[in-house]
């Protein structure tokens, strides 16, 4: 082993040389410059760029997430569900991220109920976001998620379900794929029903779990629930009675509206043909039409009682005043107005009971046109009722100045004037409520109804109710409107349909009635369009529908009978289809 020289570091001969002093200073200066640069940079970042950098940093862990809000429910007046939103999922993809093996593609296509070609077509598109399928049931969505495919994502959405199906379809309307109302009440009350999704800022950990709630930017607001005035029992009664009548009379269309005479609430609104709002593939315009609210028709004789009431009100006639209707024809200018039967001498009450055109025209022509126009206007004809329902029709009542005498005459029995069924039902409120008209309500009223507007005196309204009761009685046009246990009052209408400016031999049969006649609780208006199974008179086609609905509805509402039973049972034998069943 070689022996080492004992040389310490400090005494290393290499260091003996001594370095120039400037070198040490240069190094020191260099280091100083570096640290100045560092401090300067730190100062720059800290003082000038701090906000930008903090935002950048936060974006790495903080997220703003949306808090979904649900659309409000719609219920009937007793709380039965009519429309509910439940969550579904939409499957979407970022085509650039998707790498599918053929087997995966087949599985996905099978789950989504499409074929592989279409799926690949969508995924091959140049867009950077495509929906593969919207509104998928949660169970299916879970299976899709379980496949764990890259680039395929899901998003929660809501879908609207209507448990009532076709029974309440026209009243409710429906929502689109984006959960916004498109028709009916869903559209009318969209602002109330729509929820406001909220958002909040959160901190997520590495696994994507939320670990801290930083702040709530906007709290979610669920849509409000809507309570309609509809009584689903009455609605169902009306629906089944109308559909039965539609089949029996091979009619093209029909509509029924039921009003609560005490509050002006809309208890039922049915249209036929109808549709299933839960499955809206292959919808036709005829199915979607709301004939109660958005369609107008020439009402026919249901208009007559208003003219008679005006004549009573102005003191032109009394209920017992005799009017000569012989020979059952009346010529005005070049037009001739005729009655279906010859009646001879009739009292005013009998004119209504027998529905004599000549009789009512004679009463109508005793007024100046302006007075009749004012009556129509006060009854709400010619302008929408403003229920808030989308597309409400106002009907057509031309200004009185342009009326020719023959037009004034035809209007008195409901031709040359068009109204919607709900306007007709609304106007009959005047008879039901002792001369007072109420605004109608689609929703259940919580307090007392708004104050009414007087159109006729109470005495006139009472006299008219008596006449209408005669019309719905044994000698009237609509004995088949009678129901056991209750007194009913009402008027038939049978109008020729106007096509291309000419009256055809197609008819609209209608009936508007009140029950019970002693203290009216319900107004039921029925309209059947083009009955073509032989019968077309309102008394034969529409009145039995009225009877069927009213009987069930009065019983459902628990209204006490106001008529003795025995004579009525005799009076009505051939009416009801289930009569054989009841004779067990």
């Amino acid at each position: 082993m070689k022996k080492q020289r004992p040389v310490t570091f400090n005494h290393n001969p290499l260091l003996e040389k001594g370095l120039p002093a400037w070198r040490a200073r240069a190094v020191l200066l260099g280091l100083l410059a570096c640290s100045v640069a560092l401090v300067g940079r730190a100062l720059y970042l800290q003082a000038f760029k701090t906000e930008f950098l903090q935002a950048k940093g936060e974006s790495r862990y903080a997220r703003i997430i949306e808090v979904p809000a649900t659309r409000g429910r719609i219920t009937d007046r007793h709380g039965d569900m009519l429309a509910v939103s439940t969550p579904v999922r939409s499957i979407w993809a970022l085509p650039s991220d998707v790498r599918l093996s053929p087997a995966d593609a087949r599985k996905l296509a099978a789950l989504l109920d499409t074929d592989v070609h279409e799926l690949n077509g969508r995924l091959g598109s140049a867009r950077d976001f495509v929906y593969l399928k919207r509104q998928v049931a949660p169970a299916v969505a879970q299976q899709v998620a379980a496949l764990g495919l890259p680039g395929i994502h899901q998003q929660q959405e809501y879908r609207r379900y209507y448990p009532g199906g076709e029974v309440v379809a026209h009243m409710l309307g429906f929502t689109g794929v984006d959960d916004r109302g498109q028709e009916g009440v869903e559209l009318a009350f969209n602002a109330l029903l729509t929820g406001q999704p909220g958002s909040r800022r959160v901190i997520r950990d590495r696994r994507g779990q939320i670990v801290e709630d930083v702040e709530s930017i906007r709290p979610p607001r669920d849509g409000g629930d809507l309570v309609l005035a509809i009584d689903s029992k009455v609605q169902y009664l009306a629906y089944s009675a109308l559909t039965q009548a539609m089949t029996a009379h091979k009619a093209k269309a029909g509509a029924v509206v039921v009003l609560d005479a005490r509050s002006g609430e809309l208890l039922a609104l049915v249209n036929a043909p109808t549709y299933n709002p839960n499955n809206r593939a292959n919808l036709s315009g005829a199915q979607l039409r709301n004939r109660v609210l958005t369609d107008v028709f020439e009402p026919g004789s249901t208009m007559k009682p208003f003219i008679a009431a005006l004549a009573l009100e102005r003191g032109k006639v009394q209920a017992g005043t005799v009017i000569d209707t012989t020979p059952g024809r009346l010529t005005i200018g070049r037009a001739t107005i005729s009655d279906a039967h010859r009646h001879g001498l009739l009292t005013v009450a009998e004119v209504i009971q027998k529905s004599s055109n000549v009789g009512i025209v004679k009463m109508a022509l005793s007024f100046p046109p302006e007075e009749m126009w004012r009556l129509f206007h006060e009854l709400g004809f010619g302008a929408p009722l403003d229920l808030g329902f989308p597309g409400e029709a106002g009907g057509r009542v031309r200004p009185a100045r342009s009326w020719r005498p023959v037009e004034q005459a035809t209007m008195s029995y409901g031709h040359g004037i068009s109204v919607s069924l709900i306007q007709m039902a609304h106007a009959y409120l005047a008879f039901a409520r002792d001369g007072e008209l109420l605004p109608l309500s689609l929703t259940r009223l919580e307090g007392a109804p708004a104050r009414g507007r007087r159109v006729f005196s109470a005495e006139t309204a009472r006299q008219m109710r008596a006449m209408l009761e005669l019309a719905a009685g044994p000698g009237g046009t609509a004995p088949r409107a009678q129901i056991p246990g209750y007194r009913v009052a009402g008027k038939t209408g049978t109008a020729h349909k106007l096509e291309n400016g000419r009256y055809t031999n197609k008819y609209v049969s209608s009936f508007v009635g009140l029950a019970p006649a002693s203290d009216p609780r319900l107004i039921v208006a029925v309209m059947i369009d083009e009955p073509s199974a032989g019968q077309h008179y309102g008394g034969a086609v529409a009145a039995p529908v009225f009877a069927q609905i009213t009987e069930g509805a009065l019983r459902a509402l628990g209204v006490a009978p106001d008529a003795p039973l025995a004579p009525l049972q005799v009076a009505r034998t051939p009416v009801r289809s289930e009569a054989p069943q009841e004779q067990m």
Binding site: T70, R73, D80, M81, V84, S85, T86, P87, Y161, P163, G164, G165, V167, Q209, I210, V211, E212, D213, S232, K233, Y236, S240, P484, G485, A560, P561, L565, L568, Q569, E578, Q581, E582, M584
Partner: protein, 88 residues
């Protein structure tokens, strides 16, 4: 002087640990809250679905069909109804 410093340092350390513990606690509670809110939302949805199901079962058409066909019920004949006048 040194003793006071040591005391303050100890105090700072304890408080720092407290902050950590509190933060941890708050995150734990928050995730629990989150879970419960998710559960509440889920229950809400289930309630909606049950209401849907209930109204499907209680549909008037279905009730009428069962009452008429399976149970042989019928609307009472006019003479069979006795109206009871309630005290109003």
């Amino acid at each position: 002087m040194i003793r006071a410093d040591a005391f303050l340092v100890a105090l700072v350390v304890v408080s720092a640990l407290g902050v950590v513990a509190a933060q941890h606690q708050s995150r734990k509670l928050f995730s629990e809250l989150e879970r419960e809110q998710t559960r509440a939302h889920g229950l809400e949805i289930e309630w909606g679905q049950l209401q849907l199901e209930q109204s499907t079962w209680a549909a008037h058409a279905r009730v009428e069909k069962i009452a008429r066909e399976r149970m042989g019920m019928r609307a009472p004949a006019p003479g069979q109804i006795i109206a009871v006048e309630g005290a109003r």
